[in-house]
Symmetry: C2
Subunit: 394 residues, 2 copies
């Protein structure tokens, strides 16, 4: 079964589970401003107004512009694919009147960007169509369906992510031998990108900050391109990197210490920071299992960091990973406005999270580790081999 | 001046021209479902809720998550960049109360996908915020502003597009020598992609259909990946391809005829079709100038095709090109539902359009040419050298 066939089938089951009659993904010119859900429903981009309609009764239909018909048909995921020439309104309303769903879920959400692929203009269009058919009051947010579709990962999806993690760990091992005093952040980033290219693996997010490399104190700390800053003995250096395998991402961070002449280990202030991070990651993972919520796990790490005398990190402890480095709805985050309801969503089996606390060692740099775990039946499992020792650079 | 500085300045002027006080681009996690306008406002993707606020009085402010602050600040395009930690609501409302705009344009549109970057969930969030401030009734569509910002192209933007056209023409010339009976569509596409890679030019749209190559009768005709179909003598072969230079696209089609043994020219049925297409392209271009509307131009080509005895093409005559192969709002299209108001928008200087009529020669294949033109002060100019002769393959 292909990914699209698998996901369309899963969607039917989710509709039944959540008691929803019908789910419509409504999009156009998806290369410009496409719904992130489309990748589970169509083999590529669509050009004109397109509707992918899944019913709890198992009936499925796609209505697309004529030239997009053949590609969608060949997915084998839909009972019928309609290709129209002048406009979608007539074939869409005709079908909706035929199936007459009591509830119609559509892809918008205030609180989850991954479930918010319907643009406001497209919402207005659909609302106008359905008003004519007397169905506008049946529309509501598909957040639960889209979240579960992305979050409950199949064995195949987990397998691709494990491969992405393995490749990332391998590249971290290589770059450890490349880093040296005198090298710049940009040179280190170029080396990493070269290793990814050699493996023909795309980066997990935009190459301007994938990898991100920060050496020493006083860097931008995160979300910033590598600079000409030079690695010096005594620096703590961290990097954030990931690749995609079959469209599925890894997202990982590692911390290095650059030895000074005569040193054979990192000094105690660095090691205290590193041990604190390792402990925060481990304890967070131990507390994860189905039914737990993200703010509880975020608090585990946050209190370890603060308890050890460091400032708390100004971001969530971790996020889900999938086809995007930041994927899914449930989040290992504090109860901050910008995270909305995400930290309150209960964990489910198959969710893949990062755990990525950070702290600053004054005068040295930022210590941070980002691991990936999958929620299992009664706990959480590493997707790779977690960093337990600081990587030493001679 | 960088592109972002140029566009933010242009936006201020557009606000004055259209009598709008304030324009807000409101987006989050732009790698997942980003506003296509963001590329003119920020140096890369943003992670958390972000607001880019331009005023008719020339004041500009960006409010972004803390880690996105530095990059946005370095554009030099904003008076102030605010970086928040817990949520955008407070700094956003504080600033809006300070500037107290009478009208606030935001990026949604039923009729223009390129102006429809605001998701419905983000609209609801902004509406809720502004309701608290008593400003929700000041929101309206920024379609005019965003359209003009994309459509009135600067000399720099036109220059990049001309370079993209030149590279595409060069690649068409090379591939003409590669095409031969026995080669497959996929092999021809791979050759074209190799030429683009060799020039380090990204394709103008997704590589699954860029290039698209169709040889002979009974193909999918458009929007479909190259197949294992083999070039045969007597085939009409067409291809659709484009590249990007500095983020700006070309989008062009060319038609080839594969000679049969003993032939030195294409047969009359093919030549009649080819001449009809050339004439349709030329007459359409001649009729273009500022103030004219797209449906008038579409009708010129459509009537030439139909008048010569062919079925009318099931799509618009042409679209604008810019940072996407399909860009802008005004369209050379018929008055069909799916094109909404686009065919009625008046042309302005600086708009770049494709002209791409097509017709089928029974038993041979599809004849189609796609040229690019820019609307000038009193007419339209080719961006490259239009195809006047059918390309013959021996």
């Amino acid at each position: 079964m292909t990914l699209i066939q698998e996901k369309v089938k899963q969607a039917t089951e989710l509709l039944r589970e959540f008691g929803v009659d019908c789910w419509i993904t409504f999009t156009r010119e998806s290369e410009i401003c496409g719904d992130p859900t489309l990748v589970f429903l169509a083999p590529g981009h669509v050009t004109w107004h397109s509707a992918f309609i899944v019913g709890a009764d198992g009936r499925t239909r796609a209505i697309v512009g004529l030239y997009d018909k053949k590609g969608v048909e060949e997915t084998g995921a839909y009972d019928t694919v309609v290709g129209y020439v002048t406009g979608i309104k007539e074939p869409l309303l005709e079908y909706l009147k035929e199936i007459n769903p009591r509830t119609i879920a559509i892809n918008y959400s205030k609180t989850s960007e991954i479930c918010d692929g319907l643009t406001h203009g497209m919402y207005l269009t659909l609302y106008e169509f359905l008003s004519e058919a007397g169905m506008a009051d049946r529309l509501f947010s598909a957040e639960k369906i889209v979240s579960a579709l992305r979050e409950r990962k199949s064995a195949a999806e987990i397998g691709w992510m494990k491969e992405a993690v393995r490749a990332t760990e391998e590249i971290f091992a290589y770059v450890g031998r490349f880093i040296a005093p005198g090298r710049t952040e940009s040179e280190i980033a170029a080396f990493i990108l070269g290793e990814a290219e050699r493996r023909k693996l795309p980066t997990a997010w935009g190459p301007a900050t994938c990898p991100a490399v920060f050496t020493g104190p006083d860097t931008a700390q995160a979300h910033y391109s590598p600079t000409g800053r030079v690695v010096e003995p005594g620096h703590v250096l961290n990097m954030d990197f990931g690749v995609k395998v079959e469209g599925y991402c890894s997202d990982m961070q590692r911390t290095f210490y650059v030895l000074k002449p005569g040193e054979t280990a990192a000094p105690e202030d660095v090691m205290k920071g590193f041990r604190t991070i390792v402990r925060a990651v481990e304890e967070s993972k131990k507390a994860m299992k189905p039914g737990v919520t993200g703010f509880e796990i975020d608090a585990v790490a946050r209190s370890i960091i603060v308890g050890a005398g460091y400032a708390e990190f100004p971001h969530a402890l971790g996020h889900q990973v999938g086809r995007y480095a930041h994927d899914g709805t449930a989040l290992l985050g504090p109860k901050w406005e910008k995270y909305a309801k995400k930290p309150f969503q209960k964990f489910e089996e198959g969710m893949v999270f990062t755990i990525e606390p950070r702290l600053t060692v004054p005068g040295r740099g930022v210590v941070t580790i980002e691991e990936m775990v999958v929620v299992s039946r009664d706990g959480a499992e590493w997707l790779g081999r977690p960093q337990k020792d600081i990587f030493l650079v001679k």
